[in-house]
């Protein structure tokens, strides 16, 4: 009797370990996938910016400074290495972009250009996608971390090689930046 009881308990513990391990692995992959999604959208942002700058260059000759700052920030963001540097560069790019959008309001010609409106819509969407990808990533990180930290998983998670994931934080530089409403309402 005692033998079967022990066997039962051992089997239960094994089942729990398997379920826990698989749950953590699944979440870990979702977290990585969400991180990839942020990357994809940042890449899209980098690809769209030269098009926008080319489209508005003619009408906005007097804003050469702003345009150059956008291109410069974009190039720094493309060549940034490491998460820290990339986050800082993306923050500056966001700032430069918002300044460009604010100035574009002064040029009514641009508002009537289909090409510019379309590029503006694409960039608005990209900014939103980055935001939503970040939101999903942070939600998943929260779930992943909570799952590792609750009892009794916390006894085993670290031993199985799981580590807490980092949140994607908004850089201080970007936090201070003003941004305009780009919606085409």
């Amino acid at each position: 009797m005692a033998f079967y009881l022990t066997l039962g308990i051992v089997v239960l513990i094994l089942v729990w370990l398997v379920v826990m391990y698989n749950g953590l692995i699944s979440l870990k992959n979702q977290v990585q996938n969400a991180w990839q999604q942020i990357d994809v959208q940042l890449k899209r942002r980098h690809d769209l910016i030269p098009n926008l700058v080319n489209a508005v260059k003619g009408a906005m000759q007097f804003e050469r400074d702003t345009l150059e700052r956008v291109i410069g920030a974009r190039n720094r963001a493309v060549s940034a290495k490491g998460a820290q540097e990339a986050a800082a560069a993306e923050g500056q790019l966001g700032q430069a972009l918002s300044r460009l959008f604010a100035l574009m309001e002064n040029y009514p010609d641009l508002k009537s250009s289909h090409n510019v409106l379309q590029l503006q819509e694409e960039l608005t969407s990209t900014e939103n996608r980055i935001g939503f990808a970040r939101q999903l990533y942070n939600d998943l990180v929260a779930r992943y971390n909570i799952k590792q930290q609750v009892f009794p998983t916390n006894l085993m998670a670290a031993g199985m090689g799981f580590a807490l994931a980092d949140y994607f934080r908004i850089e201080e530089a970007e936090k201070a930046s003003p941004r305009v409403d780009l919606s085409l309402n």
């Binding site: 979702q30 996938n33 969400a34 999604q37 959208q41 918002s98 289909h114 409106l117 379309q118 819509e121 694409e122 608005t124 969407s125 939103n128 996608r129 939503f132 990808a133 939101q135 999903l136 998943l140 908004i170 936090k175 201070a176 930046s177 003003p178 941004r179 409403d181 919606s183 085409l184 309402n185």
Partner: protein, 388 residues
């Protein structure tokens, strides 16, 4: 200025457009509204915001699986019942197949010895029913889209480009694959989602909705539809819509064949009281089955609309976007003609604008396909205030 709770930048209004958190500056007039009992007032407004997360998301998915199975089961039961009734009352004692004695290889010596009743109609109905249920499950979305004459979105002009982008954004926010996007040529604003799982999902909006809604409102509507997909509401509703249509067809057909049978049975053998009682029972069941199916479909669609509103707001972190869209939908009172009755429970607002939908209480909950618009808007606005 930037929202202290979620970091969203368009924080010039009294409330944050993204998470609904109140401005921490005390001069905002909204603060006085919020400092009623139940809300903790501006003191806590700077806390990190969390919308009420629908904890029963997985419950809802499980419930939807169960309900889909129930609807399919009910449909199969009706079909078998119909087949059995035809065997019993129309063909009589059953269609007989002769059994042969002797070896089939010596046909000259073989002769029929006895007859065995074979329930031919029951078996045929079972086969047809299984096929229909399977087709309804696999291709229900195609049926629903075709019946409302939805065409794939052509991303040529700015507005349709915007719709496509918004769908992509909501797919990213929910972590699901991007559904296919369709447009229904109808000036009345409405939208629905269909498909048996998130990998085979479609979202359709009417031309009227596309033209009427701003970007944030469109986002709210698409987030609501995306939640239906994530909760597997679309599967239940699509299967129900497809099978209910078939049930109604079968129902019409059986009613016609039934009246022919009543005359016949009294003429021929005198039938016997038992036969007639059985026959009446059969007719009652056949008549009631589609009604029962419809009742189930309707009673479950109310709670799922509230849930989709809530989890949609969770996706956009902007309950006011959907609230504003719902207000526009409420003002539009012309019926959406392109959307058939079977598709109605799938839509974001009742395409027929039934007055019953504005009611509350048991009967309204039972019979209306959609919750009252005013109530939905109120809940979303509360969410925006209580976001802190």
């Amino acid at each position: 200025m930037r929202c202290p709770s979620c970091g969203f930048v368009q924080f010039d209004a009294p409330r944050c457009k993204q998470c609904g958190a109140l401005s921490p500056t005390p001069r905002q007039p909204v603060a006085s509204i919020v400092s009623t009992p139940g809300f903790s007032g501006p003191a806590t407004a700077t806390r990190p915001s969390r919308l009420v997360r629908p904890l029963n998301l997985y419950d809802q998915q499980a419930r939807n699986r169960w309900k889909t199975a129930f609807v399919i089961g009910l449909f199969m039961l009706l079909v078998i019942l119909l087949g059995y009734g035809v065997d019993r009352f129309v063909i009589g004692s059953g269609f007989s197949i002769p059994l042969w004695d002797g070896s089939p290889f010596e046909p000259s010596r073989a002769r029929p010895s006895r007859q065995v009743a074979f329930p031919v109609a029951t078996v045929a109905a079972l086969g047809v029913g299984t096929l229909t249920a399977w087709l309804g499950y696999r291709n229900g979305d195609t049926l629903v889209l075709a019946s409302s004459r939805a065409v794939p979105l052509a991303t040529t002009d700015l507005k349709s480009r915007q719709l496509d982008n918004v769908v992509e954004e909501m797919a990213i926010a929910s972590g699901l694959p991007k559904p296919r996007v369709y447009v229904v040529q109808d000036p009345d604003p409405n939208a629905f989602a269909t498909g048996r799982d998130p990998a085979h999902a479609s979202i359709a909006v009417t031309q009227g909705l596309l033209e009427m809604m701003g970007r944030e409102e469109l986002q709210g509507v698409i987030a609501h539809e995306m939640s239906h997909i994530r909760n597997y509401d679309t599967r239940t509703m699509t299967v129900t819509a497809a099978l209910l249509g078939t049930m109604l067809l079968l129902h019409d057909w059986s009613a016609r064949s039934g009246s022919w049978r009543v005359r016949d049975s009294s003429d021929r053998k005198g039938g016997g009281a038992g036969q007639i009682v059985l026959f009446i029972l059969w007719i009652v069941l056949v008549v009631l089955a589609p009604l029962l199916g419809q009742l189930i479909a309707m009673s479950i669609s109310r709670s799922r609309e509230y849930l989709a509103d809530a989890s949609g707001a969770e996706l956009t972190r902007n309950p006011m976007g959907l609230a504003s869209a719902l207000r526009k939908l409420q003002e539009a009172t012309a019926p959406t003609r392109s959307i058939s009755r079977g598709t109605a429970p799938l839509c974001i607002c009742d395409p027929l604008h039934h007055r019953l939908d504005d009611g509350k209480g048991f009967w309204a909950d039972l019979l209306a396909t959609h919750p009252p618009m005013a109530e939905r808007i109120r809940i979303l606005e509360t969410m925006a205030y209580a976001g802190s």
